[in-house]
């Protein structure tokens, strides 16, 4: 029986939810994954006593049972919510600067405004006005894009029309003069992988608003628990999964999906594919280029790839308080340069003034690591391309040199860390290239430049009949969007098959 209604290629967030949704609707689905575990980025690995979280820092869009966010609703409909245990993170983030400056932004809007006003009294009014703008912007956005107001107009939604496509830095400059304040308010741009100079305000505002409104979450067992739960649901709904078995070829005939060939040369007949693989690889390596419409090739070549990441996974033989780590989410900064200088830093295979994020999940979930221990995930964004210029023989040296610089930066803030390290592992952009198979190890798919945002690009659709995309390459980045993108792809197919 080598025919399936749908073949899903890749078991990252998008592939998993697509597969599970399709199976839930009774379709006969095959899920192919190159690796031996589901999740893609959404995974964990063990070293000694520790299980390290790879990617999830703050899950967005969840909300509470009483006030559910979109992600919660979709996970509930998928039937996996009861298998997951979420942990609310009480703050947005803590900022620690090398010069000793500290601030913690709360999820409560009024509190955050108050803390900011306290530290930046000279910008008091501007802070209030900025938060008002974010709120108005978010309301406009929700009315037009979620509630789909048919009568949307510039008069009705002035904030949206004026600010959506402007870059975030321009707006921060418009409101504030204090460079440190601007830096603090722009840090979430790192979650989208684009410096504030190139990030549409639409993204920064919505992310900030989302986390305040629906709170950031983590998950017991980390993101692997989510991946395993979705896979489990898929299997119990009759889905077939093959791990250690990638897709090698997609066969297209007269513009229509025809079959998939697996790494072990198994040819599987199907009319529908959800690709969780990048469109770059899908159109260039999986599909015969002759079958790819010229316009699609041109469109793809014009895009930019997002950054990859450089990450330290550290296991400590003590509790967080012994290290003076008090918050779950910590941005470590040593500069207030939020210009395109950020981009230059992301392009260098070394670590100096880079912004970095240190998450210590044990603060919100004391059971996260074994008793008497804790762990930190320290990440900074790096483009993958420069790493390919390192001669393979020098790779280990460069990797450890960067890790050492990063650790020094961490020590500036938390001086006792070095004495308590029990395990430490380093992931570079090359690690991501290898483990995700994405070009240049891009962890966020295409770069979220305004020109590459959802308004302007094809998203999950393809001119090839029966082909859909899911995951970070279809639009917005991160856990919530990629999880939801799979469901959207599945729904498109369900509609076409009339399986509703």
């Amino acid at each position: 029986m080598n025919a399936f209604d749908v073949v899903v290629i890749g078991a990252g967030n998008g592939g998993l939810t697509a597969a599970a949704k399709l199976a839930q609707k009774g379709l006969n689905v095959l899920l192919l994954e190159r690796h031996n575990v589901p999740g893609g980025c959404a995974t964990s690995f063990c070293r000694g006593r520790f299980e390290f979280e790879v990617a999830l820092h703050q899950l967005s869009g969840l909300g509470t049972a009483e006030k559910p966010g979109l992600l919660r609703m979709e996970l509930e409909q998928l039937g996996v919510l009861q298998d997951l245990e979420f942990v609310e993170i009480s703050d947005l983030y803590h900022v620690a600067a090398s010069d000793g400056f500290r601030i913690t932004l709360k999820t409560d809007r009024a509190e955050t405004i108050a803390v900011l006003q306290d530290k930046f009294p000279h910008q008091k009014d501007a802070i209030q006005r900025y938060f008002d703008l974010m709120a108005r912007y978010a309301n406009d956005m929700i009315s037009t894009f979620i509630f789909r107001d048919p009568e949307a107009s510039r008069d009705k939604y002035p904030c949206l029309y004026k600010y959506a496509l402007q870059n975030s830095k321009a707006i921060l400059d418009e409101f504030f003069s204090d460079p440190l304040l601007k830096t603090i308010l722009s840090l979430y741009s790192g979650y989208l992988g684009v410096p504030p100079t190139r990030l549409a305000f639409a993204y920064l505002a919505m992310l900030f608003f989302q986390y305040m409104e629906f709170k950031p979450y983590h998950l017991k067992g980390g993101s692997q628990a989510l991946s395993n739960a979705i896979l489990n649901k898929f299997l119990s709904d009759g889905g077939t999964a093959r791990f250690n078995c990638g897709a090698k070829k997609i066969i297209v005939d007269k513009g229509q999906i025809n079959a998939v060939v697996t790494d072990d040369d198994d040819e599987i007949t199907t009319n529908y594919i959800v690709s969780n693989v990048s469109p770059v690889a899908t159109y260039n390596h999986l599909i015969d280029p002759a079958q790819v419409p010229a316009a699609t090739s041109v469109e793809i070549k014009g895009r930019n790839l997002s950054t990859s990441a450089f990450t330290l996974f550290i296991g400590f033989d003590c509790e967080p308080d012994q290290l003076d780590i008090t918050e779950t989410t910590n941005f470590l900064i040593s500069t207030t340069d939020i210009s395109d200088g950020i981009r230059d830093r992301m392009n260098r295979p070394d670590i100096q003034d880079d912004f970095m994020l240190l998450s210590c999940y044990d603060i919100s979930d004391p059971e996260f690591s074994p008793p008497g221990t804790c762990q930190a995930n320290v990440v900074t964004l790096k483009y993958g391309e420069p790493w390919l210029r390192i001669p393979p023989r020098r790779y280990h040296d460069v990797k450890f040199r960067c890790a050492e610089s990063m650790l020094k930066r961490v020590e500036e803030i938390y001086p006792r860390v070095r004495d308590h390290i029990e395990e430490i592992e380093v992931a570079t952009p090359l690690t991501h290239m290898r483990s995700l198979g994405h070009p240049f190890g891009a962890i966020y798919g295409y770069e979220t430049l305004t020109k590459d945002s959802l308004f302007f690009q094809p998203g999950r659709y393809s001119p090839i009949q029966g082909l859909f995309f899911a995951g970070g390459w279809t639009g917005d980045q991160g856990f919530e969007p990629t999880l939801r993108s799979g469901i959207s792809a599945a729904k498109s197919i369900i509609r076409r098959l009339g399986a509703e």
Partner: protein
């Protein structure tokens, strides 16, 4: 939503222009078309095709196989890492990890040094059957047993037993050839003096280099032997080490070495974070392991049903992975010590014994996944291999 509403947003036209330009000039994607795969293959090849270029007899029970690459390229590795050999012996497709004993500052060849294990399938094959010119297939270099500059102190206390000397040989060779700033105390335990691998080379090195100290410890010494005797105890170590400050401990060898030496090191007051241990395969005599249910005998036989696959029988005292391989079912494997998760599979029904401390992800445990190289059937099983 009104269709295309964003076309009315401020700045829309500028972006349309930007897209036109980028389609003409190409974004960064266009340079990524030259795929990174070749680069990745140079660092982390999936498989290596190796040729045995030389066989060196080290001791009556040990030989070094010198392996060169068929395509003249061997990836870099860190001293202490291993490769897994993939073989088919007597119709059984299996794998075994072997630490690379040669130094990483040259990758013209990899040496692996294999000691005979009584009744062992692969070691006997490598020692008795494999000859110069033969081809062997392996994984790329793997494993986490190496000097980590972020964590380890420059003074290394290395504790080896039997064939566990191999990763240390690679490290020591690198240290002297590359003049690395490290100080090494190597305690090397063996049953008899004849079992010592690399003894002559280690003696020579330690005489010549002040920063390499070599302390052989012989369990059953002959009369005229003058060195340390018995096991590598804390007294033996104390005699050589002035203190335990600013030192990192590395230990590699058979299970018995860990069972004896780890408590000794801990009693000296060395905190766990300063002790790095290499795994060395599934524990022998698993039925004597703490937690093994006394009602199950090592020779008890259970049936294993593979979902959508065949049915086979497996012995309680034998890892599930081995039983599967003997029945022609190949599950990917690498470390064969429970550590790397490669051999992960799902138990749908029935119980297995997996020793405490095997690093299985929390949520894997919840959904019944086990590492089959260190899982032993205690009941009839149904399993899912995906």
């Amino acid at each position: 939503m009104r269709k295309g509403i964003w076309q009315e947003f401020d700045g829309y036209q500028d972006i349309v222009e930007e897209i036109k330009v980028s389609r003409k000039l190409g974004g960064t994607v266009s340079s990524a078309m030259v795929s990174a795969e070749e680069y990745i293959r140079q660092l982390h090849p999936d498989r290596l095709e190796l040729c045995v270029s030389d066989i060196i007899t080290e001791t009556p029970s040990t030989k070094t196989l010198r392996l060169v690459s068929k395509d003249n390229y061997l990836p870099p590795f860190m001293a202490g890492q291993y490769i897994a050999l993939y073989l088919e012996i007597a119709g059984i497709r299996t794998s075994r990890p072997y630490s690379i004993s040669s130094q990483p500052n040259q990758v013209g060849y990899y040496d692996i040094t294999v000691r005979r294990v009584e009744n062992g399938l692969v070691s006997n094959y490598l020692l008795d059957v494999v000859k110069r010119g033969d081809t062997l297939i392996s994984s790329g270099p793997a494993g986490n047993f190496y000097f980590n500059p972020l964590l380890h102190k420059k003074t290394m206390v290395c504790i080896a037993g039997g064939s566990g000397i191999t990763p240390f040989m690679s490290m020591i060779r690198e240290i002297i050839e590359c003049a690395l700033d490290r100080l090494v105390y190597l305690f090397y335990g063996n049953q008899t003096i004849d079992d010592v691998i690399f003894g002559a080379e280690l003696n020579r090195i330690s005489k010549r280099f002040d920063h390499i100290h070599y302390i052989p410890v012989i369990e059953e010494p002959s009369r005229k032997y003058e060195g340390a005797c018995g096991f590598i105890s804390r007294d033996v170590m104390r005699e050589v080490l002035e203190n335990i400050e600013d030192k990192s401990f590395f230990i590699c060898g058979p299970q018995g070495l860990y069972d004896f030496c780890l408590p000794q090191i801990q009693e000296m007051g060395v905190p766990g974070r300063k002790i790095k241990q290499e795994m060395y395969g599934a524990p022998p005599n698993i039925w004597q392991y703490p937690g093994w249910p006394h009602e199950v005998h090592q020779d008890d036989v259970f049936t294993v049903n593979i979902k959508n696959g065949k049915q086979l029988t497996a012995k309680a005292g034998e890892p599930l992975l081995v039983a599967l391989e003997k029945n022609g079912v190949v599950v990917p494997s690498l470390c064969r010590s429970g550590d790397c998760s490669m051999c992960r599979l799902k138990i749908l029904s029935g119980k297995v014994f997996q020793p405490a401390g095997v690093p299985v992800r929390k949520s894997d445990k919840k959904y019944g996944y086990v590492h089959s190289c260190v899982s032993y059937p205690l009941e009839n099983l149904e399993i899912l291999i995906q």
